[in-house]
């Protein structure tokens, strides 16, 4: 093989499909004879459905069905709990009871021959309720804080402690003790959730937006009491998700229920408003961080207490305080995580879950400490750089945080920064420069893949994975081409079908680590099978050769050390008839997992310009430098990172879902009112990668990228805002009025 394909900036293999409109997303799979379903959402925050005037709308044109808890069949809802589901609680059982638990809960579905007929009837349907006052404000004194009963994963612990953090902070010569708030955010991918459901007897096909096809298959099978193999989920393209499609939400059940009720395929697409009701959100959080340090800037004690909102019916947990356990060296560290149960729907993971929120608190506090000590913020982090993960007492598999700070600060021009707040100006504008650390665990989950070598020389590769935008189609094509020794044009990578070999959810920055490693294993297995065929084939020049004496080079099999080109896959397959078909799977070696602490690290720099008179904040420049192991495709990796920075700008300055405290209604459930960065908001963005070799994480040496790309941006911006104005803002998003009072 010539130069490695891994590391090459291959253009997206699905680019043409996406620029011609031929890439098909869930709602694009119109089925013959399909009807349209529209959900009617509860307009009260807590109570009971007393009456549904279904008869009034059943007479309207084109109406096929009005389904409510009164006429919906009782569904089996067999026990089902995936990794992605909260460990405690039970999912919403839709249309199975008259209870309304939160504003926007589905209370009916209307099915009609056209979308307009269904929308018209859903709008007209009168639902009356018995109403109670919901509690939706986690800051309300009546909102009881509970200890999470279970951890979704070992890293989300309720309480963790080493040394005596409280004592150390109390006695420290220099102290910071502050509270940080982050608003609820909604993922708001461009593609609304959508499901088209079609039954054929007791077999169900779902064209459905999902980041976790095999779980959607298993969950819907459990809800309807079907064998899993009776359900197929198809989703070749995802129009962004950021976590919202990790779980299977009620609308998928509703689409299938409606399709069975009317015995026709049914298409159900959520409205943008409904995307704020039942499809998860980054939970609103409140955190306390207390730091104690010596005058020289050595941390002596760290306390991080965090609280996140959840629903009454499920305990959603995220790793809110975990970064504090391992990010810096300190003998005395205590972290605590609590939940506030409210009358809202259940939150779920949103890009950089837990860590993005937790690091805002920790990295803001570190910045505050740096000013109090009079030490450069980057130097403060250098003085507390740990040699090992002190919480786990294990070495890091790799950690390039300081290299990231060096690379990033040089590109960013950190040396230009004058330390004093309000000391930098551009004309009348206040200029601020801030930095923050980013980190995210390098996860890896068991996955499998299939490789088929065809007689025409093409290789087909399949896995039940997803591509919500990072470029899975392209990067997996590169991995397969690399290990098969083929040009990428000869590889066809397919994903998006639950019937393909099982993979974990497309989230948590583990797709390349998990699916990529599985593809590698399947490629190696395919080569082994092809070699065995070649030596068993009497007409082959390699007949009766010892497999151990053969080698693969650029997709050709030859005797080791021999100069000949050797046999191509095409030669081998064409001579022996049937395609070579091989499956491979991979998972992290448990012994290696036990031995190392595995995380990505990065350093994010932000420059802001603030109008001192009207308080408008413009981000001018962001540089992110990351140590993420091997970069499979630098073109895609840079896009991931700059996209994550843009998400971070939203988190820092724009995004918040506001609930009406009277009824829990999201008052800005609209794309014009839920503010997100638009083109004109985007400054110069630069993503850099340090050369990092991690031999431990997985055979590909990749540590994951999707989450860390967002983590760290918001605190870097908040720290820059302080540097510009001298005003410390401890709540996100930062508003104009926050800096106007500076």
């Amino acid at each position: 093989m010539s130069a490695s394909l891994i590391g090459r900036p291959l253009a997206r293999v699905d680019g043409r499909a996406k620029v011609t409109g031929t890439a098909r997303y869930a709602a694009d799979f119109n089925q013959p004879g399909q009807l349209y379903a529209v959900i009617v959402s509860a307009t009260v925050g807590l109570g009971r459905v007393m009456d549904v005037a279904a008869a009034e709308v059943e007479r309207m044109p084109g109406i096929a069905a009005v389904i409510t808890h009164r006429n919906a069949p009782k569904l089996p809802y067999l026990p089902h709990r995936a990794v992605i589901d909260p460990a405690v609680g039970e999912r919403l059982h839709v249309l199975q009871e008259d209870n309304v638990r939160f504003y926007g809960q589905p209370v009916a579905i209307v099915v009609a021959d056209t979308l307009d007929h269904a929308e018209r009837a859903a709008t007209a349907l009168r639902v009356t309720y018995e109403t109670r006052q919901p509690l939706v404000d986690p800051a309300d004194r009546r909102a009881e804080k509970i200890v999470p009963e279970a951890a979704t994963r070992a890293r989300a612990l309720a309480d963790r402690s080493r040394g005596d953090a409280d004592g150390a902070v109390a006695q420290a010569p220099v102290r910071i003790d502050e509270t940080y708030d982050i608003a609820r955010e909604n993922h708001n991918p461009m593609e609304p959730h959508a499901t088209i459901a079609a039954w054929n007897g007791d077999r169900l096909t779902l064209w459905s937006k999902s980041q976790y096809l095999v779980n959607e298959q298993a969950e819907i099978a459990a809800v309807f009491g079907l064998p899993a193999e009776n359900v197929e989920v198809i989703c070749p393209f995802i129009g962004g998700a950021f976590g919202t499609s990790l779980r299977t939400w009620p609308h998928v059940t509703l689409a299938a229920l409606a399709a069975r009720h009317v015995a026709r395929p049914v298409k159900l697409v959520l409205t943008r408003k409904q995307m704020f009701f039942t499809t998860g959100h980054r939970p609103r959080t409140r955190q306390r961080v207390a730091l104690g340090a010596t005058p020289e800037g050595r941390l002596t004690g760290v306390i991080h207490e965090g609280m996140g909102e959840t629903s009454r019916y499920e305990q959603f947990m995220e790793a809110l305080t975990n970064v504090t356990d391992y990010l810096y060296s300190c003998p005395n560290v205590r972290t605590q995580y609590r939940l506030a149960q409210l009358d809202t729907s259940t939150p779920n993971h949103m890009r950089g879950p837990g860590d993005a929120s937790g690091i805002f608190a920790l990295e803001s506090a570190m910045d505050e400490l740096s000013y109090k000590l009079g030490i450069d913020p980057i130097e403060l982090r250098r003085r507390n750089e740990p040699q090992i993960d002190e919480a786990e007492n294990k070495p890091f598999s790799s950690r390039s945080l300081m290299q990231c700070y060096e690379l990033g600060s040089e590109r960013f021009g950190w040396a230009r920064r004058t330390p004093k707040p309000r000391s930098m100006r551009d004309g009348r504008l206040l200029i601020g420069m801030g930095a923050a650390t980013a980190t995210y665990p390098a996860f890896h989950a068991p996955a499998s893949a299939r490789v088929r070598l065809l007689a025409d020389g093409l290789a087909e590769v399949e896995a039940a994975a997803s591509d919500m935008g990072p470029g899975t189609y392209t990067s997996m094509t590169q991995v397969a081409a690399e290990f098969l020794g083929l040009p990428p044009e000869q590889v066809r990578f397919r994903l998006g079908r639950s019937a393909y070999p099982q993979t974990p959810s497309h989230g948590g920055s583990w797709t390349m680590a998990s699916v990529g490693s599985a593809i590698r294993a399947a490629c190696l297995e395919a080569q082994a099978q092809a070699a065995r065929r070649a030596v068993a084939d009497t007409r082959s020049p390699l007949f009766e050769a010892s497999v151990g004496n053969l080698e693969w080079s650029a997709g050709h099999l030859r005797r080791r050390g021999e100069a000949s080109t050797g046999l191509s896959y095409q030669d081998i397959v064409a001579r022996t008839g049937a395609p070579v078909e091989a499956e491979g799977s991979a998972q992290r070696d448990p012994e290696v997992a036990e031995r190392y602490s595995m995380h990505s690290f990065g350093a994010v720099f932000a420059e802001v310009a603030i109008d001192p008179d009207v308080g408008t904040i413009r981000v001018r420049h962001i540089v992110g430098a990351y140590g993420i192991g091997r970069v499979v495709n630098p073109l895609l990796a840079r896009s991931q990172c700059t996209g994550g920075m843009i998400g971070g700008i939203g988190m820092a300055l724009m995004e918040r879902t506001v609930l009406d405290l009277r009824d829990g209604r999201p008052v800005n459930a609209h794309m014009a009112d839920y503010l997100m960065p638009v083109n004109l908001d985007i400054p110069k963005l630069e993503a850099l990668f340090v050369d990092e070799v991690d031999p431990h994480v997985n055979p590909l040496g990749v540590k994951g990228l999707g989450e860390i790309a967002l983590v760290g941006t918001a605190p870097a911006i908040a720290n820059a805002v302080f540097h510009a104005t001298g005003k410390r803002v401890r709540s996100l998003p930062i508003h104009i009025e926050d800096v106007l009072t500076a």
Binding site: R272, M676, N679
Partner: protein, 203 residues
């Protein structure tokens, strides 16, 4: 939209956005009446069937269509003509994913009633590729990473065509301004600007 009337807090007759548009367009129909009225006046059909027939040229092909007067251009494209390249991101005119060219001008097709565009020339993403050759702007989007998930891409490209045609692609800053009606949640904005600038330079 499927919002319940009680959410709107409006006294008196409830009208959807589209019906309100019909009223302002002087085309009040029975469909615009509140459901109570409809129920009270109906002996046979609950609502008078008032579908309209019109012709529309989409990507150079003439279609004679029977449309519900409430139907948006977007829904006609996606649900009647099965031209699903044009996307519905918000149905509120706030995201730009549904942008198409109507008589050469970029519009959000979700807020545009098909009934008001009889005889119109509509261009969608499906019409740009000619004889297997991509439009330069399509090529530029791939080349400059002007996309990630691809869902906003058809709207971005149609909007980019409009932006160039309007003479608003003179500088990256100008492109940023005139492309800000198209949200990209993945954050492919730098690539989008580069793609529009590149294509504007080529044409």
């Amino acid at each position: 939209m499927a919002e319940n009337p009680s959410e709107l807090h409006l006294p008196g007759p409830i009208m959807s956005r589209r019906e309100a548009l019909q009223v302002t367009a002087g085309a009040v129909t029975l469909a615009a009446l509140p459901p109570e009225t409809v129920a009270a006046t109906s002996s046979s059909p609950a609502v008078v069937k008032n579908d309209m027939t019109l012709t529309m040229t989409v990507n150079g092909r003439i279609h004679t269509l029977t449309v519900d007067p409430r139907q948006s251009v977007l829904d006609v494209l996606r649900e009647t003509l099965d031209l699903t390249g044009t996307k519905k991101g918000c149905n509120q005119g706030a995201c730009g994913a549904c942008t198409v060219l109507v008589d050469g001008k970029r519009i959000v097709s979700c807020l545009t009633l098909a009934a008001m565009h009889g005889g119109a020339q509509i261009e969608t993403i499906e019409g740009l590729e000619k004889d297997g050759v991509l439009h330069p702007l399509q090529e530029a989007f791939v080349e400059h990473e002007g996309l990630q998930c691809g869902f906003c891409t058809p709207g971005q490209i149609m909007s980019g065509l409009g932006c160039i045609a309007e003479g608003h692609a003179g500088s990256p800053q100008e492109i940023q301004f005139w492309m800000s009606g198209n949200i990209c949640r993945c954050g492919a904005y730098p690539g989008i600007v580069a793609a529009v600038a590149d294509a504007a330079g080529r044409t």
